[in-house]
């Protein structure tokens, strides 16, 4: 066939585009995995601080969310579900949100968070390499990022998280 070259090149481009589509998970994992948590110094909802000193001697899940984020509503129930199965601390980082809306949101849906840091400007989000919310990070006893979930934490993600937590507890 005379157009074999054209077809092969096109096929190659498509294969690359396909892998390009699925790149998000891998690259983000590799950039932050097994590194200490990036800088964090936020006012919390209860008028105290959320900073590096809050990440000591226990396993913590950090969850970036906002009241304007529709997937976060879906995720919310699963955070309670996770706590039911494994009572770990969850810190929420409220990303570019309006405090009033946040309070109403928490009142309506409940509050699974031990602490909520207010990232009004989104700078903490940038430091942590958040691309879109919701995103969550699993931090070990030494303040090292061990796992990242991009998008909603659902049943499948809970299973993965539980195995990760178990291995960290050993």
């Amino acid at each position: 066939m005379r157009y074999t070259g054209l077809i092969i090149i096109t096929a190659f481009i498509f294969v690359c585009l396909f892998f390009g589509l699925n790149k998000e998970d891998q690259t983000l994992k590799s950039a932050f995995l097994n590194k200490p948590i990036p800088e964090i110094n936020l006012n919390s909802l209860k008028k105290d601080k959320l900073d590096q000193s809050d990440f000591k001697n226990e396993i913590i899940l950090v969850n970036f969310f906002a009241s304007w984020c529709v997937p976060c509503i879906v995720e919310h129930d699963f955070l309670f579900e996770l706590k039911k199965q494994k009572p770990i601390k969850i810190y929420g980082i409220n990303y570019k949100d309006n405090i009033k809306n946040l309070e109403i949101w928490l009142e309506k849906l409940g509050n699974p968070y031990s602490k909520i840091g207010i990232d009004k400007t989104g700078i903490t989000g940038i430091n942590w390499g958040v691309n879109g919310i919701p995103e969550s990070f699993l931090i070990d006893q030494n303040g090292i990022i061990k796992h990242k979930v991009t998008g909603v934490i659902n049943e499948k993600q809970i299973k993965i998280l539980l195995t990760k937590i178990e291995s960290l507890e050993k």
Binding site: M1, R2, Y3, T4, L6, I7, T10, A11, I13, F14, C16, L17, F18, F19, G20, L21, N22, K23, E24, T27, S30, W68, C69, V70, P71, K96, N98, N131, G132, I133, P134, E135, T150, G151, V152
Partner: protein, 632 residues
């Protein structure tokens, strides 16, 4: 209720399009539901779905997820309407609406087609419709209902709350999607009829129409970025911009190669390939924009299944068309012998340059994706690469474009041609010299740009005078020829515009208090006032500048900085004073204490970018109207 009607309409349209596609098995059979009626019904149902969505936006029906995510009761009515396509789902619905609309146009108004060929073409068009409707229903349904109904919506991205959204996407889509009908015409030709001059005549008006609207859509987008985004530029080589430029380049090549096929019965396979590539690049463009593979969409985690779905659609159409061409290429006979000094010679040169530029831009656009896969590094290919390559590739093209229309088909004599070029060369050098004399500050390359623009302008005019026997034969002037002349003159003006705008631009960034002034070329701008403003869904500040030239008052300019509370998003409304040959541009930034940061531009010839683009659009439409009216 609206959601139910919308969903049912979409499902009916899907079934109808699939039924029409099944018709390819036996195109001569008379059916109860003939193709014309089928296409009209498809059009009717999609239009119904589209209006349902629009209605939901207008009445702020937040029970529909899509409306909730992209609208707000306080949003002005215009943006409620345009907000329909200011999001992924609605935008895809508009895409399909245009797709079906083109089928409808063909079935109603293109009387040149015999029934079997028309049935076949419409069947392939329906296949495209079917696949995209499936995509909408399965992964991008705009009619998803949420319960309980939210009290208010999340509002539309404020950058999109601009009249630009009303015009830019629909025009661009007419261009993008119009290429689908050319694709369907081509595929159908493999099964019925042959690739001869008559085929070129058939597709030509539709290529022209798509090309014209692509031109208009792209330039509207660029104009929008210029005054709304506040960056002071008109083109940023952003992947999304490139996505629209690639089909345009391909359609430009196709436009010219059909000429050769029509007149000389050759370049058949090349023209077929271009027809396929044009639509393929429309699809790839849709993929790049919609999948979020390059630009990261910020607010919501995007659904990865969508990207895979569109990629599969692209792969399906692109591979099947390429394989079809590869299989049947052997049976397509071409006339040989093309002399380089002939019209077809110059057109081939044009085609090669267009495709070279197309590939350069394509590589620059997808290179970051490749690099990330193979090395994990994230890079972005920026304007330096694109500016350099596009200038180098287009330069020679413009040189030839000036005299290409003068050359005869088959063979022309070089000496006679060169003697005619003398006067054009003289005039262009004169203009360049005048520019050099008025404004000699700029870099040398700017003079090259001006020379090329003048060269093309005078060459085109010269040809026009010559062909109309110095305006004596204006009466029976061929509209196609007039269209070509207007479009080529438009390109000349456009080149002058980008040259002035990019190379002679004066930029100043100043922090000013009320009462201070800034000098820009021969102008002085006095910062006289700042006041608070309040719109329907935004608050903000407006500054007042009085513009003087040599102490003579000209105009008050009012740039704004707006803040949209629902989305917590600031926008910049630049103030522009345009006098036809240059722009004074003020964009307002953040306050520091009681002073404000402003960005000032003096951009000579910038308005010419859009004047030239509009001329190209008008030229294309002139030529289209001639071709389509002649045969109906």
């Amino acid at each position: 209720m609206v959601a139910i009607i919308g969903n049912i309409s979409l499902i009916f349209a899907t079934l109808l399009s699939f039924y029409q596609f099944l018709n390819i098995r036996n195109i001569n059979k008379i059916r109860v539901l003939n193709p014309d009626r089928n296409i009209s019904l498809q059009f009717f149902f999609i239009l119904t779905a589209f209006f349902c969505l629009m209605f939901a936006y207008v009445v702020s029906d937040f029970s529909i997820l899509n409306v909730y995510q992209n609208s707000h009761t306080a949003k002005p009515l215009l943006y409620k309407i345009t907000g329909v396509w200011g999001n992924h789902e609605g935008s895809m619905l508009l895409w399909v609406l245009v797709l079906v609309f083109f089928g409808f146009l063909i079935s109603r108004y293109d009387k040149r087609l015999d029934l079997p060929y028309k049935t076949l073409t419409l069947s392939f068009q329906s296949l495209i419709t079917f696949v995209f409707l499936l995509f909408i229903l399965l992964s991008s349904n705009p009619f998803i209902v949420i319960s309980p109904t939210p009290v208010n919506g999340l509002d539309l991205n404020p950058l999109l709350q601009d009249p630009g959204l009303a015009f830019h996407p629909p025009n661009l889509y007419i261009g993008y999607v119009g290429l689908s009908i050319v694709f369907s015409f081509t595929i159908a030709r493999f099964y019925k009829g042959s690739f001869d001059a008559s085929w070129a005549k058939l597709i030509k008006p539709w290529v022209l129409l798509s090309w014209s609207f692509l031109t208009l859509g792209i330039s509207l987008g660029s104009w929008w970025a210029y005054y709304e985004l506040g960056w002071g530029g008109f083109w940023f080589w952003d992947p999304v911009e490139n996505a629209s430029l690639m089909p345009w380049l391909c359609a430009t090549a196709l436009l010219h190669s059909t000429l050769v096929l029509e007149k000389r019965n050759t370049l058949k396979k090349w023209t077929i390939l271009l027809a396929f590539l044009s639509f393929s690049f429309s699809l790839i463009g849709t993929f790049l924009v919609r999948s979020g593979i390059i630009t990261s969409v910020h607010s919501f985690a995007s659904d990865p299944t969508r990207g895979v779905f569109i990629l599969m659609i692209c792969a399906f159409f692109i591979f099947s068309s390429f394989i079809l061409l590869a299989k049947k290429a052997g049976s397509i006979k071409e006339e040989k012998l093309i002399s380089p000094i002939s019209k077809e010679g110059t057109i081939i040169f044009n085609n090669l340059l267009m495709v070279a530029l197309l590939l350069t831009i394509f590589i620059g656009t997808i290179y970051p994706i490749f690099l990330e896969i193979f090395t994990g590094n994230q890079i972005s290919v920026g304007p330096p690469y694109f500016n350099l390559t596009s200038t180098l590739i287009m330069g020679p093209g413009i040189l030839i474009m000036s005299f290409a229309p003068m050359i005869n088909w088959k063979k022309d004599d070089l000496i006679g041609l060169l003697s005619r070029l003398k006067i054009i060369l003289f005039l262009s050098l004169l203009v360049t010299f005048i520019f050099f004399y008025i404004n000699f500050k700029g870099p040398i390359i700017a003079l090259v740009g001006i020379f090329l623009a003048a060269w093309l302008f005078f060459g085109t005019l010269f040809n026009f005078f010559e062909k109309t026997k110095y305006l004596k034969k204006l009466k029976n002037l061929n509209k196609t020829f007039l269209g070509m002349t207007v479009a080529h003159l438009g390109v000349a003006i456009f080149i002058a515009g980008i040259t002035g705008s990019t190379l002679w631009k004066v930029e100043k960034i100043k922090t000013l208090k009320v009462g201070e002034k800034v000098l820009l070329n021969n102008y002085s701008l006095n910062f006289d006032k700042i006041k608070k403003i309040r719109g329907k869904n935004y608050i903000g500040h407006e500054a007042e500048f009085n513009l003087y030239k040599k102490n003579k008052f000209i105009k008050t300019l009012k740039p704004q900085k707006r803040f949209y509370p629902v989305q917590e998003f600031p926008t910049t409304e630049a103030a522009i004073y345009s006098r036809g040959i240059s722009d004074i541009y003020i964009a307002m930034s953040e306050p520091i204490g009681n002073s404000w940061i402003f960005r000032f531009h003096y951009s000579p010839l910038t308005p010419w970018i859009w004047i030239g683009s509009i001329m190209a659009f008008i030229g294309g439409i002139l030529s289209f109207s001639h071709r389509i009216f002649k045969r109906i």
